[in-house]
């Protein structure tokens, strides 16, 4: 059996399909609608990846310029949003390499596995069993965002795409050009890292 020809691949008609088609057919003014639609999401994604506000702004602008430049190449074989985030992630990675914030390190499962009498939990702490609204506070949200910032980039990218932006495993793998297995490993470690930070926060409260 031969692979289907590129031209025969089914087009994905997502919510941006008509708008992207309109732009690609010459209605370039409508690109502003695309920017309006994704500006805030991309700004926050970039801020979480770059940390520095000026870098995040540069990244968003560069992403939209790249999207405009390459939109004609978009084949509607994926959701437009996934393609957009692929460009955004790649732009953030390039920006980060030039940035001073780049604490790269591997997170190993062992460092999160509770061992020894002092670490082995014997009961669910309040922060994990009270209703969510009883636990949430602005200070806690600041702590969560701060903890996300301290994650090494490759783990941060995955957790931001999965747990904040809401992409599924397959989409995240496609955006980052990783295997799904790799996405799952990174996500689990990133979540365990954040869990430890939250645990520390609540224990020292």
């Amino acid at each position: 059996m031969t692979a289907p020809k590129r031209a025969n691949r089914k087009k994905i008609k997502d919510k941006d399909f008509e708008l992207v088609r309109a732009i690609n057919s010459g209605q370039f003014d409508r690109f502003a609608d695309l920017v309006k639609s994704y500006e805030q999401k991309l700004y926050n994604f970039s801020l979480r990846m770059c940390r520095d506000a000026a870098d995040a702004e540069d990244t968003v602008q560069e992403t939209f310029l790249n999207v405009f430049r390459y939109l004609k190449d978009f084949r509607y074989e994926t959701k437009f949003k996934n393609w957009l985030y692929r460009i955004a992630a790649s732009t953030c990675i390039k920006k980060r390499r030039k940035s001073k914030f780049a604490p790269q390190r591997e997170l190993s499962l062992d460092e999160f596995y509770p061992q020894g009498e002092a670490e082995v939990p014997q009961q669910v702490p309040d922060w994990a069993q009270l209703p969510l609204d009883k636990v949430l506070s602005n200070e806690l949200l600041d702590k969560i965002n701060e903890a996300i910032f301290t994650l090494p980039e490759k783990y941060r990218l995955v957790i931001v795409l999965r747990d904040i932006e809401g992409f599924d495993t397959a989409e995240t793998a496609q955006i980052l050009n990783l295997s799904e297995a790799n996405v799952k490993v990174r996500l689990h470690r990133a979540r365990l890292y954040l869990r430890d930070r939250l645990k520390g926060y609540f224990e020292n409260e």
């Binding site: 596995y113 014997q122 669910v124 969560i144």
Partner: protein
């Protein structure tokens, strides 16, 4: 298992899969295995609950508004782009 020990191989195997379990990405047999295990193993139950809450909290992280100055600058940059994409 002694309540102060948490070095059981089965615990470690399941510990690796807790995120996939919470994301409904495991087969039914493994799911049942985890559910059975956490009923009997308090440390693993606590790990599962704290991980679940971490995900819930992460989803609440929230978004900042785009600074007005930047939004204006971005709009201008878009308006100043060539009216047709560059030829390839």
């Amino acid at each position: 298992m002694n309540k102060n020990e948490h070095d059981h191989r089965h615990c470690l195997e399941l510990f690796e899969k807790l995120s996939e379990y919470l994301d409904n990405e495991l087969d039914e047999v493994t799911c049942r295995d985890i559910e059975k295990h956490v009923k009997e193993c308090v440390p693993c139950f606590v790990c599962l609950q704290t991980l679940k809450r971490t995900i819930d909290l992460c989803k609440q992280a929230g978004n900042r508004s785009v600074p007005e100055d930047f939004s204006k600058k971005l709009k201008e940059a878009i308006q100043n782009m060539p009216k047709s994409p560059p030829a390839r």
